[in-house]
């Protein structure tokens, strides 16, 4: 840090650092000397000190502190694991079901008709999910749970 002359004027930045206890002993004693010489500087320091005390006395603690945000944070943090498990389980069951269905002894026409219905339902279901996902993606409040 630049060394200043002992009698050089105190800058506003120095006054702030003095007020906030961010100065070393040498710099502080320079400000102390300046304060002894200048009533204007004393007045300015007293003013900022008063403001500081008043703000500190405000206590931003809300009187009606509501429920913790943890539950909502927890939902988000743990939700992906739940989804992964559900999707993995579904994929395994559906693959197994499709295999059992394909290797069963029923006629090919029945397989074709049932397969078409099942694929149709799955396609409709997937399109709804995709639509919802797109809506969720563009929702600015997606992470806010009320």
């Amino acid at each position: 840090m630049e060394t200043r002359q002992p009698d050089s004027p105190i800058t506003s930045d120095e006054l702030m650092r003095y007020l906030d206890g961010e100065m070393g002993p040498e710099e502080s004693s320079r400000v102390d000397s300046a304060l002894e010489r200048s009533t204007e500087l004393q007045r300015e320091l007293a003013l900022f000190r008063s403001l500081k005390t008043d703000i500190q006395g405000l206590h931003f603690h809300p009187a009606t502190y509501r429920v913790s945000v943890w539950d909502r944070v927890n939902d988000h943090v743990n939700r992906p694991i739940g989804w992964v498990l559900i999707v993995a389980g579904l994929v395994i069951w559906m693959t197994y079901g499709a295999y059992v269905f394909a290797t069963s002894a029923i006629s090919p026409w029945e397989k074709l008709a049932t397969g078409a219905i099942a694929i149709g339902i799955l396609m409709l279901f997937a399109s709804v999910i995709w639509e919802r996902y797109r809506e969720w993606e563009t929702d600015p409040y997606k992470d806010v749970y009320r």
Partner: protein
């Protein structure tokens, strides 16, 4: 929270054990809410910002450098979250929820009706002054006066050079003084 304990919790979270995130959230929630409330001006927006900041913090924990302190890093995310919300939602700092924020535990033990009224009026005036000075001035005052951060930490949170903190504080305090003068408070 102790630094060692905090580090251990962060390590566990980084390894995917999300249940260890809860003590961190609970430890930083009160201070986070104070900063968010100071920036957003009302409880609902402050809680939304805080919640989203905790989620973003968790999502970015894998990139967190364990040599850095967690607090300033979290407050940096929270502060950016508040600013984003103020920009995108046009939320405004307001004094509607004043009753929620007035100190319920005054240092002055005189509880006579006249003294209580004076105290309340003085605080309301200060709140109105804070309302007028803008989020940028308000956030640095909260970080310094209410959270008690050192200049180096404030610089990290606000992403500014350390040498600029004193200057920013001077301007914020001056702005508040001028706002109070305009409100006819006794700040010459």
């Amino acid at each position: 929270m102790q630094r060692q304990l905090e580090l251990e919790l962060i390590r566990k979270c980084k390894s995917g054990q999300s249940r260890f995130y809860e003590p961190l959230v609970r430890a930083y929630e009160p201070a986070g809410l104070r900063l968010a409330l100071a920036m957003m001006g009302n409880m609902d927006d402050a809680q939304d910002a805080l919640q989203m900041a905790f989620i973003k913090t968790y999502d970015t924990l894998p990139r967190f450098d364990l040599r850095r302190p967690f607090g300033p890093w979290f407050f940096q995310i929270l502060r950016n979250q508040c600013r984003d919300m103020l920009r995108s939602r046009k939320a405004k700092f307001n004094v509607e929820a004043l009753g929620e924020r007035v100190d319920q535990h005054p240092a002055d033990s005189d509880r006579s009706p006249e003294r209580v009224r004076q105290r309340s009026a003085a605080k309301e005036l200060l709140w109105r002054g804070l309302e007028r000075i803008g989020a940028e001035h308000r956030e640095i005052l909260v970080l310094k006066e209410l959270e008690g951060f050192r200049y180096a930490e404030i610089a990290q949170i606000l992403e500014i050079p350390e040498g600029t903190v004193a200057s920013r504080l001077y301007h914020a305090r001056n702005a508040l003084r001028e706002a109070l003068v305009r409100l006819d408070a006794e700040y010459p």
